[in-house]
Symmetry: none
Subunit: 415 residues, 2 copies
């Protein structure tokens, strides 16, 4: 199948934002064997959008348009596509109800332009928008290329791609048979190290294929196989997964696109009835906020401490002033005390602590990226480990949070 | 002048990298009044590249191709363009000398493919590559759209754009003159409501133009004008900004692409020497973590409390148990107590509190999105306000954090 991506939006055309949605989708499509030969960016201009859309209809099997589904006058994608395909627009009642319910609840105006977001191509299958109001479309075109419409805001777009579009495309398959793929998720190993460990497998890859992808603090591998049946494709994938696990299994924390280290760790804690807290300095609440992302975490997470300044470490956690004075705030001893005291104050089973240098400036003469992470587990003496992270304040803090989660995971593996 | 950008490279098409070059160039072109109506990404495939190039020749005055000038077999842009334009390729002697000198110095092989990088379209003006070997081209086409060829690696591309291409284009000028634009940032008003307030301005827009853009919890407007000079364009923009401020000024928290509400609020606090803390329930540390994103926040932020469970509200903040029991945890009274107690415990000037329902489940029979945000300021009695947010756990928490920041901003405006 040959697909083509059209991103619509003047902000893209003017270069105010880069077309990251296009890259995201192209990668997902490549992962399941859908060829993408063209990507186009066009502004919020009906005539030019129509020209591009009609050109795409001629040369591709599937045309995916991103953006222009919102409530403003600029948002014309549905209208232009409907006109070009000679189909009507219809209202998706579920989407309209969601909009009306929100307007009622929030007391916002029930403006006509907001209701436009519930429009879809008549005869298209709606793609529900879990994180926004503009409904997506999957139009199976009886007389040309199929058409998919997706919203532009990345928070809506990525969820709709992962949960609505990809399952439908995979179910449909390609001329090569059925596609099955599995994402393996790794923490504690860099992309180049992982790729080196697997270089012979990657060099020989045909079916399954192995696609590595690096994010902040973690790496994923997508293993994709095609076969005559899902079961046969899955079995090919599973053989490769087993081979990868043999080599780097200890770094693999989970599977799936829509998974995260926080989810994995929180679910392990819930399963084992272990409560958790934290004392955070440089991360300033980001670790606890990441726990809070996971629904159901309230069963194991009572709360915790943000102790950014030294006084707060002393006053909130009752750490003896001389510990901070003698060893410094960026030290093993302070990290150990922070974890120990947080655990004691909230009477949890596990506590993690973070103290270090987020940057850009040095602290106690230590460079940005120097981070001590402590962990206290049940009656065991608390421990702390030194890490060196890079690439600026945001990545140093993010890497710290992921590493703290990984320390819990490792502790649970051996206890 | 209407320009069009074609980025060539399979790595772009597969989404392995986002087309940041396209965004960079589009922004530069917009800044000097060159319209860009189309951007296309195409792989390293001669036939498809030729089709896209010929389409662009027909509809634009200037076609800028990025990438495919390197030494490998994949790099075919010059060859394809030369063929489509029916012109020969010639060697740029300066570029060839640079390549040969480097090979001599580094002891690398003088391979034929490396010399390909010195090729240019005959009759084109060479664009020297200061940070690489592939020479660029500016071909003034006697019988169609002008053609510019630029290298793909961003370190070569950006320098060639800034030092070679932009001076040539500016010398040439555009029929519309200079462009100036300003971004206004809003919080506390939805995109559709803002657009409704400004509908007459948006309907009449010609110069300046008004482009709204919605992110989670905030909206931006880009006001763009063209004029014969920067000063004249800026003055047109400023008149429109003033008109927008007259209508919705109370929601406008700042200006600029590279700005955030957290930055604005933290800088205001630093300027006024006001310290801040928080007590967070549903946001679980995200508010404090957002403060922690801003370098320099340590001057005003000692730390704070994550009180996810009711016990933590009682034990960490010493809120009387009967307050939580009598009024419920999702209540004005609990939010007021949380803010009050957090402020007292850390002796700050300001404290913000968050208690509500992140979802997906109801809490105390209140739906997901119901959030009370409290604020305690100096000696004033603490207050709390009710909000209703939507679109899932992550957006409800994010909207709460931004609204908490906005409450501080509003407090500082009137105090």
């Amino acid at each position: 199948m040959n697909a083509e991506i059209i991103a619509v939006g003047t902000e893209l055309l003017l270069g105010q934002i880069a077309n990251t949605n296009g890259a995201y989708l192209a990668q997902k499509l490549a992962g399941i064997g859908v060829n993408v030969y063209y990507q186009t960016v066009v502004g919020d201009n009906p005539k030019r959008l129509q020209t591009v859309f009609e050109g795409a209809q001629k040369r591709s099997d599937l045309v995916i348009l991103i953006g222009g589904l919102g409530p403003t006058k600029d948002d014309l994608t549905k209208q232009v596509v409907a006109k070009a395909l000679h189909v009507e627009l219809a209202t998706d009642t579920a989407a309209l109800e969601k909009i009306t319910a929100f307007q009622k609840q929030s007391g916002r105006l029930n403006t006509a332009n907001n209701r436009l977001q519930a429009l879809k191509l008549a005869d298209a299958e709606s793609l529900p928008n879990e994180t926004g109001f503009a409904v997506g479309d999957y139009y199976r075109n009886p007389s040309g290329a199929d058409v998919v419409l997706l919203p532009g805001p990345p928070s809506e777009f990525t969820i709709m791609v992962d949960r609505q579009l990809m399952p439908r495309l995979m179910e449909q398959g390609t001329e090569n048979g059925v596609i099955f793929s599995k994402v393996m998720r790794f923490i504690g190993i860099g992309e180049s190290e992982l790729v080196t460990d697997l270089s012979d497998l990657i060099d020989q890859q045909t079916n399954p294929t192995i696609a590595p992808y690096a994010k902040v603090g973690e790496v994923t591998l997508r293993i994709t196989a095609t076969a005559e049946s899902t079961a046969a494709a899955e079995s090919r994938v599973d053989q490769m997964v087993a081979e990868v696990l043999k080599r780097d299994g200890k770094y693999c924390y989970g599977y799936g696109d829509d998974n995260s280290l926080a989810q994995v760790v929180v679910h392990q804690l819930i399963e084992r009835h272990l409560s958790v807290t934290a004392a955070e300095s440089l991360t300033a609440g980001e670790f606890q906020s990441t726990l809070g992302d996971v629904p159901g975490v309230s069963a194991v997470f009572p709360g915790g401490f943000v102790t950014y300044a030294n006084e707060a470490k002393v006053s909130l956690l009752s750490i003896p002033q001389h510990i901070v004075d003698d060893y410094g705030v960026v030290s093993k001893e302070t990290a150990v005390w922070m974890a120990q005291q947080a655990k004691a104050k909230l009477a949890t089973d596990v506590a993690v602590s973070f103290t270090g240098v987020a940057g850009p400036d040095k602290l106690e003469d230590q460079p940005a990226g120097t981070v001590w992470i402590g962990i206290a587990y049940k009656d065991q003496p608390a421990e702390a480990y030194l890490f060196n992270f890079a690439n600026g304040r945001a990545q140093i803090r993010r890497s710290s949070v992921l590493t703290g989660l990984n320390l819990i995971r490792q502790k649970l593996m051996t206890n």
